[in-house]
Symmetry: C2
Subunit: 155 residues, 2 copies
DNA sequence: CCTAAATATCTTAGGCGCTAAGATAACTGT
DNA sequence: ACAGTTATCTTAGCGCCTAAGATATTTAGG
């Protein structure tokens, strides 16, 4: 029965998402961070140097929350604050890439290797199938998020 | 280059997990729940009636946290408390399945349909590839969580 | 220039959800 | 029957969030 197989796969993808989250939090704990801080630190690392305000926009947090987030990350030396040249109101966040890498890479490297080995164990055409699944699943979810985030008509 | 393709897929799976979480939270907001409460409500619904203590064990929360969680869910009529027959210390949690379904199904149904359509668009052998990927990825992550959750040797 | 408005960040007050520790109530075994 | 165990709840305190407003700096208009 293809139908049953389909339902089974759908549940599997759900579990996959849940387990990813668990792992992300396990990494955070090991690194001495909260899940929240780990998430946003990864974000900053990816985007590179940015101002506090841009960070707030990028994360969707309020400016107050970002101030607290930066405080916590700064206290742990994961980033430093600098006033922007030319506009002393702006606070530039400079990630301490070295420290972050030193701390996080050992926690992720083996996982990354295992995952890449897993993917490599498929043939090119199989990988393309997996790619097609993920790309389309992503599109579906992003569309759904957009719909869900629109305010209700009656309010 | 297969290597580059592999790296690309790995990033795609990361993004997939992140986006799943975003969608889960968007659903929660729409249902008037926190992401946390939505997560655990789904849990209760899946497992069915259980005691508060079992709920704590199942979720990994402390009993105090579970008391608060139950309070919030009870206030919103998502469940009711009943003393267990034969042991009046135990509190049985009875999910209000009707209300939960009424509230959540409209938020998920279209997504589920779209996802199942997506999966169905693959051939049986392609679906087996996807299944193989997810099963093995899950195993890798669960193993990693276990390793990460072990206390460090030097502490 | 000088000042009003705009902008960028920080601070404060208050809420939610968590843990750890201990209180309360009910059960169990000898 | 009562000491110990078990199940849940309560309390104190912390972390992280929002909303609102304070502070400091820049920009624009007269």
């Amino acid at each position: 029965m293809k139908e049953e197989l389909v339902k089974q796969i759908r549940k599997l993808t759900q579990q996959h998402a849940y387990t990813s989250l668990q792992m992300h939090e396990a990494v955070a704990r090991k690194a001495g961070l909260s899940g929240t801080d780990h998430k946003y630190l990864g974000f900053l690392l990816e985007k590179g140097e940015m101002t506090a305000g841009d960070f707030a926009k990028a994360t969707g947090l309020t400016t107050g929350a970002v101030t607290g987030l930066i405080d916590r990350l700064e206290k742990k030396k994961f980033l430093s604050r600098h006033f922007a040249e030319g506009d002393r109101r702006k606070v530039l966040l400079k990630p301490n890439t070295g420290l972050i890498m030193t701390l996080l890479i050992p926690l992720y490297e083996e996982f990354r290797r295992e995952t890449e080995n897993l993917i490599s164990s498929f043939s090119i055409s199989e990988i393309k199938v997996i790619e097609r699944y993920f790309s389309q699943a992503l599109a579906i979810m992003n569309q759904r998020i957009e719909i869900l985030s629109q305010p209700d008509a009656n309010e």
